[in-house]
Symmetry: C2
Subunit: 216 residues, 2 copies
């Protein structure tokens, strides 16, 4: 009986220690799918990932699509998380000039294992200086504006997503889901990522160089 | 001056009268992307669609992906809306046996112009009896269970989505986005829907008969 119990305790410990924390940054007028596409994918992988939402001051965060989401204060993530996810959206336009948020993003990004940005979320990360000298991408329609937020970044226009070390940056909106599946492939292998896509009946754009929205 | 003013008033009136109301039903443990994929698409079409969220009792609704969303009480939609969207998710398992919610779904669906279901959301609509004798689909992994919720429905296993009159039903999770784009094509034409997909850099599975997740 004691042996059985200790086996269960050991399993519970293993499960817990393998659980990776995904912290999603929210701000007013974030883009809906930039957040919830990736959240769907990490969300179904309950044995490996745990998702939480944070904003500069905690509380309700709203966007122009009628979404009102509850978020936590960021104190719990200042020492870093496994995956820090930064979405884009119209809200990034004022937020690139919000030094409190940019400092928070720098602090959490420096301490985290991986930083993933979707769409114009790359502009927020670029403002921290952490992408300087690194390869990155962003959404097509705002690309020129995003570039001005990080003049020292090596911007890649044609890419579904770009990986540079622990930084993953994606093209516009829907590309965030393809990037997260790509991230899962890098961490867990192809079969794991394909299984996740299959569970949500998602047609995965698996090749990060295949960008159907690029026009020369 | 008077002429200019009245022109503006007329335009504002036209804009308002063309605005279509999308009501999204929420319940605990709804599937994240079932809701927010369609919401992203309707959300970017600000001149035509306005999205709001409702639940049986209003207030905060949560799911297993860490999402806590604010919703309104359903009094305002009992007389119907332009588009009533019903998501799926694990929450549908208990909710098919919740007569208050099923009665609400029947009432709103009867009064609304179009009813769209995603994934196992079709099970909730099937329980109202409104799909009896109609063609409908649902997600692959829960198909057998969903069928038991509507024995008189003409269930179509191989379909990205199915249209029967004013009822649109989609396959699993991600298929909801393809269906909403298909709905937009039916209402506004192909160019309009393709433009919406392009804005969010989405690889649209445009053919509703093309179902990459069906296995015979």
């Amino acid at each position: 009986m004691r042996a059985v119990e200790s086996t269960y305790i050991y399993k519970a410990f293993l499960l817990r220690s393998n659980m990776k924390k995904v912290a999603v940054l929210l701000f007013d007028n974030f883009e809906t799918l930039d957040v919830f596409g990736p959240v769907e994918i990490f969300g179904i992988l309950k044995e490996d990932y745990e998702v939480s939402f944070y904003s500069q001051n905690g509380g309700m965060v709203k966007n122009g699509h009628g979404v009102s989401m509850l978020s936590e204060k960021p104190d719990g993530i200042r020492n870093g998380v496994d995956i820090f996810l930064i979405p884009g959206g119209w809200g990034t336009r004022p937020e690139v000039n919000n030094p409190v948020l940019i400092d928070l993003i720098r602090e959490v990004s420096l301490a985290s294992k991986y930083v993933l940005t979707v769409c114009t979320g790359t502009a927020l990360l670029a403002r921290t200086g952490l992408l300087d000298g690194k390869r990155a991408t962003s959404n097509k329609r705002a690309f020129d504006w995003v570039m001005t937020q990080g003049p020292k970044v090596d911007w890649i226009r044609k890419a579904r997503w770009v990986v540079d070390g622990r930084f993953y940056t994606s093209s516009g909106v829907s590309a965030g889901m393809d990037m997260v599946l790509g991230f899962l492939e890098d961490c867990h292998g192809k079969a794991f990522a394909q299984d996740a896509a299959h569970k949500i009946e998602y047609n995965w754009n698996r090749d990060k160089e295949e960008d159907n929205f690029y026009t020369a």
